[in-house]
Assembly symmetry: C2
Homo-oligomer: 331 residues x 2
Amino acid sequence: MAKEIRNLDNADCLITGGLGFIGSNLARRLVELGARVTLVDSLIPEYGGNLFNIAGIEDRVRVNIADVRDEYSMDYLVQGRDFLFNLAGQTSHLDSMRDPYTDLEINCRAQLSILEACRKQNPRVKIVYASTRQIYGKPDYLPVDERHLLHPADVNGINKMAGEWYHILYNNVYHIRAVSLRLTNTYGARMRVKDARQTFLGDWVRRLVDGAPIEIWGDGTQVRDFNHVDDVVDALLLTATTDDANGLVLNLGSDETINLRDLAALCVEVNAGGNYKIIPYPADRKPIDIGDYYADYRKIRGKLGWQPRVNLREGLKRTLEYYRQYKEHYW
Amino acid sequence: MAKEIRNLDNADCLITGGLGFIGSNLARRLVELGARVTLVDSLIPEYGGNLFNIAGIEDRVRVNIADVRDEYSMDYLVQGRDFLFNLAGQTSHLDSMRDPYTDLEINCRAQLSILEACRKQNPRVKIVYASTRQIYGKPDYLPVDERHLLHPADVNGINKMAGEWYHILYNNVYHIRAVSLRLTNTYGARMRVKDARQTFLGDWVRRLVDGAPIEIWGDGTQVRDFNHVDDVVDALLLTATTDDANGLVLNLGSDETINLRDLAALCVEVNAGGNYKIIPYPADRKPIDIGDYYADYRKIRGKLGWQPRVNLREGLKRTLEYYRQYKEHYW
């Protein structure tokens, strides 16, 4: 049984990357739960922020346009918060290889400065950090649990690994309560679908809605697990509102593993139309291909009772409906 | 049987941190072996660089004062080299907690820019990176092998972990041959003895030579392993001159484990004088205390035949003799 998400009524919440995919879905839930919500986002065009993501709740959240690399703004913005959902990040693996310094500034240096700001200005805040399966690199075994060695396969993975550990360190040394969730492929309404920067599924969804063929890279046998964003929001809120997981890293994941070819077929079926083609792995992505991945998420299930509730068929259906309705805001 | 160190006659070698403890000992050996040696060092007063470390070989090496954070200089300096011994680093755990940004700049950003320089200017170089046991944090089990999880206990450990992985990544993705050695406590002639910034043994050696009591922090039961710098130089040269270990991380270590109280007694005995006192662990170091540590170094022994040859008694004897003779250059 999942623990209940404790009272967030009137809780003061800061979300970095708050106009992004996961951040905006989290903001919607927090608003429903009566929290006071401030969103920090830099709206960098290539990243996931989109003002339409908060359509309908604009008047119930505070939007603060700022970059997490801006130490002075962050130093002010963390003050007085009960919760910090630290979701801002550079997430493109390819971009991290082309420009490793920008990835370093966002995923390492800014994380350090956010934590330093909390240490100095607000040591009683509780932080949930969004880490990623990317830090495991190519799995040594499946499913991947939290004791799996970290051997990241791109600069982004290395920097996210460091970013995660700063949080754990500040929990252990300075007692600033922090938890790191290692997210697997997350999908759902409000994800970036312009391109495959955030997730290949975004690219697929756009093509399905446009009636264009889906492209599967490789041979289509790569296995993955997927979490619908509503389940990820559950996990963020559960870890925020309990102290049982402080200082821990916890995998998210799903038992509903699927290979990309079957996923494409499922997408076409749920979409009631479309087709897919298999194309060779792009040369520039080949060295960072990690083969099969799916997570063992028994640790968070055991600690907090979390498990995914939205199955893939239902999640894809909702996602496609969302983008069919609101495509002009995302294309 | 150790592999033989292959011909380095006329090899073009660059050593970052070349005026430091390990760098200068390596430079001496390389000069003996007929290599052409360039030392890069910034001579930051708090770090380990010391011009006296190359006394006697000044005319046989090229010294280039530069900071590894200086991208433009590094971009030039890596050109045409056969070997890059990448030893420059911020090594103080305490300094990394007080000023995490400087540690980040040296141990992460500069490493990225050195690797980018190699990728662009000299992809055929072979790199040996000096990593550290510090990235393991407090051991889960002993001896610590390379499959032990990394859970660093200070900012320095996190950044060194990232620095190591950049090297492995550039080996795997760009085929710039690189190996990372995870050094344990290294000691010997030319280490920094002004204070305990580099190693507590430096502080001990200075006190022994001065006739002052050694200070043991904690209860003195903490177990450690130690490598004499000559053995570390062996390991650097072996990994540089073979391609069997490319892309690997390899622990150094020693079977001669000892607790700090016994080590202090041994120091006093070898020094033929002195005494030690046990004092409580300094409050600012307590959260980053890692308890016992010693390495399993079977991987490098199996791959390259490396093992330590200088025992602790002999190594301490030589070290004390060195500082008694040259103390005015180190105090």
